[in-house]
């Protein structure tokens, strides 16, 4: 296998009779920021959820850091793993959700230190020190004791990013991180994400923010109808799309 952090081959997924993913091939290299664009229902969120096995695949294969998230290879065959083993493999994959999904009964700080303590076995003191640093990094220094409800949507999403970063992930997945935000709050989240991209974090970002794709992406992937239609640098895909469907999609943002 190559040095790709994420490698997807022939990924298929159906919900009932509707095929959402019809054979996705995608590689994401270490340190790369890949932005996935595409119309609603194109399967981009489903693909992202398949990567950390929040959705199971029907066919194909996804490896992260060279390993299948849900399977072991034994005797030339894939074997389904037990839930606790899957949980162990998810540690290296951070995810940021459209609806933030912060734990409402925990403060911002508690949200961030929960998994490092419970999953990585970090001490409370070191986890807390790192959480304070991470909150400062996402521009929320001093808000350690705030409960999610006391924060704006943009602030909540930045806490969610800090929470995912606390696990020191090798790969970060962003599932439409700004779609649930009021327009004036989108910018602060995108600025935070751009900083991470510049710092060399490996990121896959599903979004409708064309400007973010243009400014932060190393590669843009356009999906439609459960397939990768075209991919390339932002200049290639956004400014000079080759495929008719890409052009039709992008024309709506001009």
């Amino acid at each position: 296998m190559s040095t790709a952090v994420l490698q997807a081959r022939g990924v298929r997924k159906s919900f009932g009779h509707t095929e959402v993913l019809s054979g996705i091939d995608l590689d994401v290299n270490s340190g790369e920021t890949v932005v996935v664009l595409g119309p609603s229902g194109s399967g981009k969120s489903t693909f992202l959820r398949c990567v950390n096995l929040l959705e199971s695949l029907d066919a194909g294969r996804i490896t992260v850091d060279g390993r299948d998230v849900g399977y072991d290879v034994r005797g030339g065959r894939l074997h389904e793993l037990r839930p606790n083993e899957i949980a162990r493999r998810r540690r290296d994959i951070g995810m940021v959700f459209q609806q933030f999904n912060l734990f409402p009964h925990m403060t911002a700080l508690e949200n961030i230190i929960e998994a490092p303590i419970a999953v990585l076995g970090e001490g409370r003191r070191e986890a807390t020190a790192r959480a304070v640093e991470l909150l400062a990094e996402v521009g929320l220094a001093g808000r350690e004791k705030a409960y999610p409800r006391q924060l704006s949507g943009g602030q909540q999403q930045r806490v969610a990013i800090a929470r995912a970063l606390a696990m020191r992930p090798k790969l970060m997945l962003f599932d439409e991180p700004t779609s649930a935000l009021d327009p004036e709050l989108v910018g602060e989240v995108l600025v935070t994400m751009k900083k991470l991209a510049t710092a060399g974090l490996t990121m896959v970002v599903v979004t409708h923010e064309i400007s973010f794709a243009r400014e932060a992406a190393d590669r843009v992937v356009f999906m439609d109808g459960g397939l990768v239609i075209e991919q390339g640098t932002p200049e290639q895909v956004i400014d000079n799309p080759q495929h008719e469907r890409t052009r039709a999609f992008l024309s709506r943002f001009l």
Binding site: A87, R90, R91, M95, F103, H105, E114, R163, A164
Partner: protein, 310 residues
């Protein structure tokens, strides 16, 4: 150029809502008057009607037999509720499990125990020996490891505990299930994405949030259970009510003894109400609406809810 707030003229209209006459509330005054009349009548009756036998009430209120009966009532409440909660959590987990056999079995259990009267279930357990003279521990159609005589095993106390506890389990199952389902599925996904195991997600993420929805109805169940234990008097278990009954069957002071019983039930349920309000406060951390404080019922005007930030 647009007018800014500073430039805008501050006008005062001739008629200003600030000076409006307040609305009159004649019905409020009338209803208050009617309630006061009834209250006065009640107080007069309590004082002047000798059939209440307040001196008898006072002499029996802390009698040893009554206090012992109260002890049985409280013990039954605690044991039956513990069985009910444990059983309820197990049944609720079965109800939402992926295994259709477990789902079905839990469903049938809940259907049976919620669909028949508690009183009937109590009498049924009391008479279990008529159905099963011997209780055997073994493999169906196979060897028997141990055998018990039902009549010696199922004492009235055990019949009462089984009847109340198994019945409570069915109600608690529905309460717990409702609580678990009320937690947003995104919470589980967030836990999974962080690499947490299912057990830990349940303990740290789902249950603490579900508790906000489980605790208030469970408090009601405890208060109901205190009163439901009075049913065990039909199987001759000497709880608070049965003790009082056996006293007034001898002395014919029926009303005073029933008042003694009512006063004790009220005392116990009042204490439970206070405890419940404290527990609710604890589980409403981070929630938009704080649980009402115990003393809120004394407020004449409702307290304004504090809005959440931005």
């Amino acid at each position: 150029m647009a007018t800014t707030v500073q430039d805008a003229p501050r006008t005062t209209p001739d008629l200003d809502v600030r000076d409006a006459a307040k609305r009159k509330h004649p019905w409020r005054w009338l209803s208050a008057f009617i309630v006061l009349v009834f209250a006065a009548q009640l107080v007069k009756m309590l004082i002047t009607n000798e059939n209440f036998g307040w001196d008898v009430v006072a002499s029996w209120l802390r009698a040893e037999s009554i206090v012992r009966g109260l002890g049985v009532t409280l013990m039954l409440t605690v044991v039956a509720m513990v069985i009910g909660v444990v059983l309820g959590v197990l049944l609720a987990v079965c109800r939402i499990s992926a295994n259709p056999l477990l789902r079905g079995a839990a469903g049938v259990y809940i259907w049976f125990f919620r669909g028949t009267p508690t009183l009937v279930q109590l009498i049924f357990f009391y008479n279990l020996s008529a159905l099963l003279p011997k209780l055997n521990l073994g493999i169906p159609f196979g060897p028997v490891f141990a055998s018990f005589d039902t009549n010696t095993l199922i004492t009235p106390l055990l019949a009462a505990i089984l009847g109340l506890g198994l019945n409570e389990g069915a109600y608690m199952a529905e309460i717990v299930r409702g609580g678990l389902l009320s937690v947003d599925p995104g919470q589980r996904e967030a836990g999974q994405a962080l690499g947490m195991t299912n057990a830990r997600i349940m303990k740290r993420i789902i249950l603490p949030q579900a508790m906000r929805f489980i605790v208030p109805p469970t408090g009601n169940q405890v208060i109901s259970m205190v009163k439901a234990t009075a049913l065990v008097s039909v199987i001759a278990l000497s709880d608070l009510l049965y003790t009082a009954q056996s006293i007034y069957n001898r002395t014919f002071e029926t009303i005073p003894m029933l008042i003694v019983v009512c006063l004790w039930y009220l005392a116990v349920t009042s204490v439970l109400y206070v405890v419940q309000s404290f527990i609710e406060r604890h589980y409403s951390r981070g929630a938009r609406h704080q649980a009402p404080s115990f003393w809120d019922f004394l407020r004449i005007r409702p307290k304004a809810q504090q809005g959440s930030a931005s």
